[in-house]
């Protein structure tokens, strides 16, 4: 007890203040109560929705992409699961520092960093971007154990595309790549944006590109509960993804392998077609490339190697490069002569070794000429003079009109992207092709060159093979196609691609027989005889030599000029002669005479296709592709 007694008024003043304090507290707490009422009752719906939005995320489930197999079921493209190390840049404060720290746990190369940077520029800010692909199990464990140290970093299982046959079918199967801004625009234009949510790769070339819609499938979705870090906590509901359709090709991987190896180091192309269906049995463009290089982003060195090589491995010569057909054009010209009535099969001309037109001497390649030449001899001995005269008689319009239904100089419509149309020359074409009035006029002498497959003529190997198929199939024309069936993997239902012919070219059986008989003789006594000596089947063929002339004006390095200026070598062939199962066109760039380099390739391919015989010294395609177990 203190000795002073506090005055009563002090006590009562204090009590007043205590009451004031009490009232003040009550007011403040009421303010809080009002605030809670506002938030929890008046604005409940709003905050409830906000909380649900926080909690529930709709996660797209990308579908499994369809597989691609050859006509015998050999796998050409498939998926495999691998772990990737992903960074979500929007959740990371210091990206470089995070990557540096990650590099202490897993290998991260400069290539990985550059690729990450590139991918990041192409992706939206909230998306996760892979810094490493194909982690080993040990690396996965190391990252998972330290995940709490790396906010915004996650390990994800992803499906990657794999091409077990390596470079065997690079140009046919193509490859996939990460969706870039141009792809995004295209997807949007097709109205498929929703279906590509969650999908990171898209077909960029070959069948992967042209059958993108079939292969991709339908994206499913999962409603998941996520935490503040965006991690999945629990699955609420699921709409399963529908896997993409598989493709069964008309291509025979074994045949493709024989053809591919037959080219060796040489540049060129081969297209083999089943004449009765239009199905492509083999489509080679040499050199090829390994599509696996592109699967998780091609390295700069690999890209340079492919893109800057003078052999241009990324160029699909089979469907894009157009070459003058040379003498392989003669059977078609001969057929034109018969069909138009300008010639009969027996009618012979006198060849004195040259043909005079407009004061210019068009030379035969045999000095002194072939003597009396009828249709059969003109094809077997490849007599130029016969065709100089025939071309003059048909006229350029007549030639163009006859050739057009065979698909010369037009897109064939094959189910591969990047086809070019080549040139079927005509006065009309020349008017459109050239700007200056002086160059637009068609000269009669130009018709003469066209008659022997030189001049402005330029066709892709695919066009030549397609035209030949029609010729040996009695004029019944199919659209060439690489895919036989599109298969729904769930029901097994198959849809056949291009089962019906697109046209019937009106040709007389007698005329066709005459031309085909001459072509059969080419392989017996003519320019194909040496290549087809001892064949256990009957066949027809025609050599050709294309003067080096490229419509696209390829530039070659000076050191290579001599070799690269040599003529291109052609060979077209079909077998068996009476009921052809295979028709093909082979082109060897700078291969010289057709009989020397192109014809032996055709022989090897047909031997394998009809007899199952592999050329001596060639590995089977199974040993050739160790990736395929």
């Amino acid at each position: 007890m203190t000795e002073f007694r506090s005055p009563d008024q002090d006590v009562s003043r204090l009590r007043v203040r205590l009451v004031v304090a009490g009232v003040f507290m009550l007011l403040c707490l009421s303010l809080l109560a009002a605030r809670f009422f506002y938030l929890q009752v008046l604005r409940f719906d709003y905050y409830h929705t906000r909380a649900e939005d926080n909690r529930i995320a709709l996660v797209p489930v990308p579908p499994n992409r369809g597989a691609i197999v050859d006509r015998n079921g050999k796998v050409l493209a498939r998926n495999f699961a691998a772990y990737t190390l992903d960074i979500t840049p929007s959740q990371v404060e210091d990206l470089d520092e995070t990557i540096d720290r990650l590099a202490e746990i897993v290998d991260i190369s400069d290539y990985d960093r550059r690729r990450f940077k590139k991918f990041r520029e192409e992706s939206k800010f909230f998306e996760s971007v892979p810094i490493r692909t194909k982690l080993t199990d040990e690396e996965v464990a190391r990252v998972i154990a330290r995940r709490y140290l790396f906010p915004g970093v996650d390990v994800q299982a992803r499906l990657f595309r794999e091409y077990p046959q390596g470079d065997l079918l690079g140009h046919v199967v193509g490859y996939m790549g990460r969706i870039n801004s141009r792809d995004v625009d295209q997807i949007e234009a097709r109205g498929k944006t929703a279906n590509y949510r969650g999908t990171e790769h898209i077909g960029k070339r070959g069948l992967e590109e042209s059958y993108e819609e079939e292969l991709h499938g339908k994206t499913g979705s999962e409603q998941v509960e996520v935490d503040a870090g965006g991690r999945k906590v629990r699955l609420l509901s699921r709409r399963t993804a529908v896997p993409g359709n598989s493709l069964i090709l008309t291509v025979d991987a074994g045949l493709q392998s024989v053809a591919h190896q037959a080219f060796g180091e040489r540049r060129g192309a081969l297209v083999a077609i089943e004449p009765s269906t239009g199905g492509v049995l083999a489509l080679v463009s040499s050199p090829s490339f390994d599509p696996n290089l592109f699967v998780d982003g091609i390295s700069v060195a690999d890209w340079r190697g492919l893109n800057e090589s003078p052999d241009r491995p990324l160029l699909n010569r089979a469907i894009y490069s157009a070459y003058p057909p040379g003498s392989t054009f003669k059977p078609f010209m001969g057929l034109a002569g018969l069909s138009t009535g300008k010639r009969t099969a027996q009618q012979a001309i006198a060849d004195q070794g040259y043909y005079m037109f407009g004061g210019h001497r068009f030379m035969d390649d045999k000095v002194g000429g072939h003597g009396m030449v009828d249709l059969h001899k003109s094809i077997v001995q490849s007599c130029n003079t016969y065709y100089y005269m025939l071309a003059n008689d048909l006229g350029i319009e007549g030639i163009a009109d006859f050739m057009r239904p065979f698909g010369f100089g037009q897109i064939t419509g094959i189910d591969l992207p990047g086809e070019s149309d080549g040139v079927l020359p005509s006065p009309d074409w020349k008017r459109k092709r050239f700007k200056k009035p002086g160059q637009q006029k068609w000269y009669g002498g130009e018709t003469i060159s066209v008659g022997i497959g030189q001049g402005y003529n330029a066709y892709t190997p695919l066009q030549l093979a397609t035209a030949l198929s029609a010729l040996v199939n009695d004029g019944v024309m199919f659209k060439p196609h690489v895919v036989k069936y599109v298969v729904d993997p769930q029901t097994g239902a198959r849809r056949e691609v291009e089962p019906k012919p697109i046209r019937q070219i009106p040709l007389k059986p007698a005329h066709l027989a005459a031309v085909r008989a001459a072509m059969v003789d080419v392989n017996i006594t003519g320019t194909g005889a040496r290549a087809f000596a001892g064949a256990e089947y009957s066949s027809g063929g025609k050599t050709g030599t294309a003067q080096v002339y490229s419509l696209k004006g390829t530039k070659y390095k000076e050191g290579n000029v001599a070799e690269r200026l040599r003529d291109h070598s052609w060979f077209i062939a079909f077998a068996p002669a009476d009921k052809p199962q295979i028709a093909l066109a082979v082109l060897v760039e700078n291969g010289g005479f057709g009989s020397r380099s192109a014809a032996p390739i055709a022989r090897q391919v047909i031997d394998y296709y009809l007899l199952g015989k592999r050329p001596a010294g060639q590995a089977s395609e199974d040993e050739d592709a160790p990736a395929d177990q």
Binding site: T2, L32, L39, F44, Y47
Partner: protein, 379 residues
Amino acid sequence: MEFRLHPVAMIRAILRPIDPPLFLLLMVLLAAALVVMQSASPARMEAQLVNTGVALALMWVTARIPAPRLLSLAMPLYVVGVVLLIGVALFGEISKGAQRWLDLGVARIQPSELMKIAMPLMLAWFFQQREGAIGLVEFLLAGVLLAVPVALIVTQPDLGTSLLVAAAGLYVIFFAGLSWKLIVPLVLIAVLGLGSIVAFGDTLCQPEVDWQVLREYQKHRVCTLLDPTSDPLGKGFHIIQSTIAIGSGGMFGKGWMQGTQTHLSFIPERHTDFIFAVMAEEFGLIGALALLVVLFMLLLRGLMIAAAAPTLGTRLLAGAITMIFFTYAFVNMGMVSGILPVVGVPLPFISYGGTALVTLCIGVGILMSIQRERALSQS
């Protein structure tokens, strides 16, 4: 026989210092804290139980000390507190950008926490010494006693604690009878200051504006409150997410352990400063109002003890402690529900944290001691 303690007598002896209403209300709050903690951070349950036990023991010990003895401890506690604060300024450990901790070898302590008790104790003791002769000089001296430790805490920098310590002292001064003529202008200045910040927030919050008196992070906190969406992934995230948690709780809440904002980690600091959001999400408006009612009853009990206290010092002390409880609660819930800036103030008796709980329970112990003093003086 006389020396053998009868069990009933023993229990009575133990219970003697306890004020039943205060104790009952405190137990309700501590029980609620355990229930919410189990949901917010089950891993901390054990530590919370230990903290609760220690805090209750210290409350009991404090309650047993006669009030005059407590007041006589004011000067030494205050001096020790100020010395420790200077020690922190010179040798303190830096944690989360601020220098608050002092390692004494045995334990790491936060001297600013001690000042929360020492400050009102000191001023109450001071006014008691001057009872009957309290004039302007006394108020000025009290102001100096208040300003020194507050300044030391501000420089740590710890705005939240310095405001609480300052408030504790100001409450004593208020109850000591500072003239309304002085209080009204001071409050007006404070209100106008805050009002202008709100009104001109947009300009003031431009990055290039330097607020002179407040540090960058303090400016940030105030600005974030004015417009939480301006920084949705930073500090504003806390307020936005805790507001969503409270609002989505609705009338009856999502149920114990069912709060999505809580269990999916959207609520930051959910076991400490933001624990109220957990409670409001899982128990709804009903739970939040129940908490307000219990707290208000506890505060009323405190005010009653103050009104009936036997001496000036004990009256001032009891009133100030009660107001401190109120301030903690109001600032915390105001912050979590988005009507006050984010200041590091825990929810009294509920938030996880040993030091704060011990300080608060010692405060309750002091109230009980004062209540018992009245009973003694009446008898």
